[in-house]
């Protein structure tokens, strides 16, 4: 995670600890001085705590935004540029098992009731791409009679009631005021309870760093007025992002002009990624 993604509560914690340190030092000084019979007035003055740096980006006010994400599955062509862009942008481990975002392929074949689902991590697809760093969907159904097929991009739903935040024992993961769930990688203990709690499989554990990780809607970008990397590279506009407070933003228009739905509404997590064009099998 980028430096600026850190929790303000961490800043508050630091401030508290720093104050505690000063109090302890002062107390020590008073005791020491009293022992010498010289009560100094060293503890009488304390400097005000320095203001925490503007968070997360200078001049950015997280109380003024309400970010949301839209996915138009009818537009997605499964090119997987979004997955690759995300991996590069966010230093996601270069393997075929850990993703901040991924694309699912749903294929209904004639005469079959069960849907065939795969994603870019499927060994057949990895074999087709020939690499765990570049992804593509293998043309595995070219000889089959396809009745219906579509792609569904997936990412963290930045839920309003996130189960991952609820279960974190140290509060290292938290929901920002502008509606994004972040992780303080300097505070995460690596217990992976959040990975288990997420019903969407959006989190993974970064073995090298020993912490959990997930999509942040490119928080380091959106707080600078940029689009998330996956939205930026999508050639067909299947991914929509914006501020719900702005009624003319792409996401506001997307939600207003479409019948949208969310994944697993029964979980009570209240997800904030809105889908158009998904099927009953998608969850």
């Amino acid at each position: 995670m980028k430096e600026e993604d850190r929790n303000p509560s961490q800043a508050a914690r630091r401030e508290f600890l720093s104050k505690l340190g000063r109090v302890a030092t002062c107390a020590g000084a008073v005791v020491g001085a009293a022992g010498l019979g010289v009560v100094s007035n060293a503890s009488g003055k304390s400097e005000p705590a320095s203001e925490p740096a503007s968070f997360p980006t200078k001049d950015y006010d997280w109380t003024q935004h309400d970010w949301a994400f839209g996915v138009d599955a009818t537009k997605c062509i499964g090119c997987l540029r979004c997955v690759e862009a995300c991996k590069r942008e966010n230093n996601v481990p270069a393997n075929a098992h850990q993703f901040r975002t991924w694309v699912e392929r749903y294929v209904y074949l004639e005469g079959e009731e069960a849907v065939h689902i795969d994603s870019q991590q499927d060994p057949v697809n990895i074999e087709a791409s020939g690499s765990q760093k570049e992804f593509r969907f293998a043309n595995r159904y070219k000889d089959a009679k396809v009745e219906k097929a579509f792609f569904v991009p997936k990412l963290c739903n930045q839920c309003t009631h996130p189960a991952c935040v609820q279960v974190c024992p140290v509060g290292a993961t938290y929901r920002t005021k502008d509606g994004v769930v972040l992780i303080d990688h300097d505070y995460c203990i690596g217990c992976r309870y959040c990975v288990q709690a997420c019903p969407y499989g959006a989190r993974y554990f970064d073995e090298e760093r020993g912490v959990s990780d997930k999509c942040t809607w490119c928080y380091h970008r959106i707080t600078k007025g940029l689009q998330p990397a996956c939205v930026e590279v999508c050639p067909v506009g299947a991914r929509v992002f914006g501020d719900r407070r702005d009624h003319q933003s792409p996401i506001s228009l997307f939600i207003r002009n479409n019948r949208v739905q969310v994944l697993r509404p029964e979980s009570g997590n209240a997800p904030n990624v809105f889908y158009v064009g998904i099927d009953k099998e998608v969850n």
Binding site: P93, Q98, R192, Y193, Q196, V211
Partner: protein, 400 residues
Amino acid sequence: MEPVIHATPYLGWVYPNETIFEWSVLIAVYPYLTGLVAGAFTVSSLYQVFGFQRLKPVAHLALLTSLCFMVFVPTPLLLHLGHPERAFNATLTPHWTSAMAAFGYFASFYVVLLILETWFAYRPFIIEQAQKRAGLLGTFYRVLTLGSYDVSAKAIAYDQKWILWLAITGIPAAHGLHGYVGFMYGSLKSREWWSSDLMPVIFLFSAIISGVSLLVVLYAASCKLRKIPIDVDCVKGLAYTIWGFIMIAIVLEALAFANLVYKGREGIEMILQYVTGPLLIPYFLLQFAIGLMLPFFWLSYMIWRGTTGRAMITGVTICSCLVLFSVFMMRWNVVIGGQEISKTGKGLLIYHMFIGGKEGALVAIALTLAPLVALLGLSWLFPPWIHGTVSSRVAAVGEH
């Protein structure tokens, strides 16, 4: 280059991030150890609080067993953490909405309680050793007396009062700790296999039978090693305890499973495919049939026929070993089984346990056996088979 991560094979459709198995065998060992603590403490409490006199020969052993296992409870968790050096963050800045946040407090409170109760229980013995022994060991016991050499009837009565109240407090503490472990899984709504209101009580009753069974095995083994006869009444008392609690454990497990199947919520097809496929042997055969039903029927038969003597001791000990195995399988089937069923409800993963490595089988076995080694050492320092005769002996020494 050796890959940093090890992907899990799978069938059907699983989320890409699920292909890395996050909670290993160590997370199954953790509730297993916690359960043994709660179960062993139950035996101690049955004697100390409820006055089950026939359990007297194992009362001190139960206390020491509980203490030794409790000390090792956090080790699988620490080994599993990505940043074990930050483990205390959970106690320094607990995030109270997390079911995991209070663990440090619960565990610390319970360890302190166990140490206190053990100290009071062994105080007369410690004083006797402090007066009798010289050298380093003598100094060790003298430090442990904390400067108090009073073994008068009044002081002993005072100790007894403390032991009683600590034991009473320990009952909700031990069982709360373990029920809480069950809650950590049961409260997760992301996995149908875990998400059950019955999970805490299932964990609790399986814990009790595992702890009592452990004591049967330890008591039988210690008597064999010390070449002394086994107290048949005591083993019978433990057998009755297992028999009583195993019934509840079986009923709860069956109810939870029936609930899951009967409700038949989304993903149930995959769960049924799983339990009748990969889980058939570990769940129905090993955990249920061999580990729970067989000991239950065997114990019932022995109680009905009034079996006693060597046959009873052998039977109860074998049943206890089966229960110990069954409860481990239960932990395994919950922790590993829960993750083998994909969150998609449309796929299964196949956990591969490594032999070596930080979270491999060898470490898991070592962590399960480590408390027994600690118990061996502690039994040497504080023999658990002295039962109350000490105070009179020390009193006699004091009179001279």
